[in-house]
């Protein structure tokens, strides 16, 4: 088992290294570079000054030297600073991450609250009308892009009814109710697809669990269906759910871009779009590497949970 974990760790580190190479050189391919932004316009025509500044900034070094310097700083948590606002990327991250994180957790939370009961009901009523109706509804839910959901939620709940704010994010420290109100619509927009995915997974796993002998013996002992479903069947049926919830938290951290833009929330996704439109190279690099790093770590953690939960993988008998 230790060997398995060590191998997985090694693979994660190797992947991260490759991710940093890919990000750096991809952004390096963007037209123009830092020099165009940092050197004031009136000095751009003066060849000597431009050359001197470029030399000082290290922009004339070969790409791999610049990569080495960048990586050296990045490993210590210094992702450089924005060329436009002069704000360190790490500061930007610490400001923006809470928003995206809150949005992600609320979205996953909403998805699970609805997905678990729906999944259990359809497994229990497999093939009956309620199962068919739920499955059909979920199939539809799975197919509605989050920004479409968002557009109609804003139209209905913010513009027609005026119940919830359409845009903006209130700090938790300012107003708890304002904070929660602001996060409901964007989180629900993100939750719909995940809810459908989670629910279908629970249904499928639950159906195979319900055929196990121990469920039959619990039934023979006279336990109520409700008790069996909640206590005996749900836990063994949640293995693939854990995987997918983990993976979706990871992909949501980078996947909230459109929703953050739509609801004017200043999270990581919004920061990335801003950086891309302003060609703020250092910020693009920093944010992309950060998002990918989190993603890699979450994937690895999910694998570890798998190892811990599934005895067959643990003993290497897969």
């Amino acid at each position: 088992m230790q060997k398995l974990i060590a191998a997985r760790l090694l693979r994660a580190v190797a992947t991260l290294f490759a991710v940093s190479v890919l990000t750096f050189f991809m952004v390096d391919l963007l037209p123009g570079d830092l020099g165009d932004i940092l050197i004031p316009a009136e000095q751009q025509n003066d060849r000597a000054i431009v050359e001197q500044l470029r030399e000082e900034l290290g922009l004339n070094d070969p790409a791999f030297v610049r990569y080495g310097n960048w990586l050296k700083d990045a490993v210590t948590g210094d992702l450089g600073e924005s060329a436009i606002t002069r704000q360190p990327v790490s500061t930007l991250l610490s400001q923006r991450l809470p928003i995206t994180l809150q949005l992600t957790l609320f979205a996953i939370g909403f998805a699970l609250i609805f997905a678990v009961p729906l999944g259990i009901i359809s497994a229990y009523r497999q093939g009956r009308f309620s199962d068919r109706a739920i499955s059909g509804g979920l199939q539809l839910g799975l197919s509605i892009p989050n920004f479409v959901v968002g557009v109609f939620l804003i139209w209905f709940f913010a513009e027609r009814l005026g119940w919830l704010p359409a845009t903006g994010w209130t700090r938790l420290t300012e107003s708890v109710s304002g904070n929660v109100k602001g996060v409901i619509l964007p989180a629900v927009s993100l939750a719909l697809v995940d809810m459908a995915v989670f629910s279908r997974l629970i249904r499928a796993d639950m159906i195979s669990t319900l055929q196990e002998n121990y469920v039959l013996s619990a039934k023979a002992k006279g336990m109520s269906d409700r008790f069996i479903l909640a206590r005996h069947a749900l836990r063994p049926s949640s293995l693939s759910l854990i995987t997918v919830v983990g993976l979706n938290i990871g992909s949501l951290l980078g996947g909230t871009v459109v929703i953050e833009q739509l609801f004017a929330m200043g999270g990581i996704g919004r920061a990335l779009i801003d950086a891309i439109t302003k060609r703020d190279y250092v910020v693009i690099q920093g944010l992309t590497v950060f998002i990918a790093t989190v993603y890699v770590f979450i994937n690895m953690t999910v694998d570890f949970i798998y190892i811990a939960v599934d005895p067959r993988i643990r003993s290497g008998r897969t």
Partner: protein, 308 residues
Amino acid sequence: MSDIAPEDIDVTALATGMLEDVDDSRDEGGWFATMPWSARIAGGWLSLIIFLAVFADFLPFIKDPNFLFGVFEGDDNNAGPSSKFILGTDNLARDIFARLVYGARVSLIVAATAVGCGLIVGGFLGSLVGFVRGRTESAVMAMVDVVLAFPGLVLLLVMVSITEKRSLFVISLVVGLLSIPPYTRVSRANALSIANREFVEAARAIGTKPFRILIREVIPNVLPSLMAYAMVAAAFIMVLEGSLAFLGLSVQPPTPTWGQMIFQARADMRQAVWPVVYPSMALVFTVLSLNIMGDWLRKRNASRASAL
């Protein structure tokens, strides 16, 4: 077989949450007779939009999507359905139906390029490394892991921003490139299990050359499940292109795309909801149809595999 990691579980199943839901109906009376009505409707809808998008230029009832009817013929903007405009007009008094049809073109071309690149390059690469194993496999899968370490939209955004001019060609190219790794992963996982089957062993035993086994035995058996994945992946790509358009980073105007239509009509949503509803419905129906087709193909494959 300790080298099959958790990520080798059926990716299509996980992406859509469908696990081992085997269709009991056996293949009696051909593929159409066993097709559930939902898949028939889905197939019909997909055929319809493909037909309209391909022949849009030749069909007389489809108007010019960028013609400003308000300026030249005095029609109202944001008007409801009429005999002249079957779905009404948008905020610049353009024909919504025509824009939907031409918008389908962008979505379909991007999705088709993605599926094409994925199936041909990714499908072959994955089958190859799943069959020959060894160092080639480790190297290819390491590269795949790196690309898949980025959330799809983030990588797409950065790559699109590299290109100065966001033409349909460039967007399709980027999406096509990004489609190769996931298809490689799916086809490798399938090739791994097929390479251990008796018929592959039998082919080896009678001295068939490895390349011929790959072409004649492995790939034909990887393809059905890869096709099911392709449907779901195409749905995903359509949503991705829609998101990109919604952010204003897909194909540049005046070329209409569904995502961009939703985005533009949103500004006037208080006055006119329908200009947002139509492109949204078109997008949702298409994505839904692709998902239904994907599910149907998966069930079909599962029941065929269990019948073997």
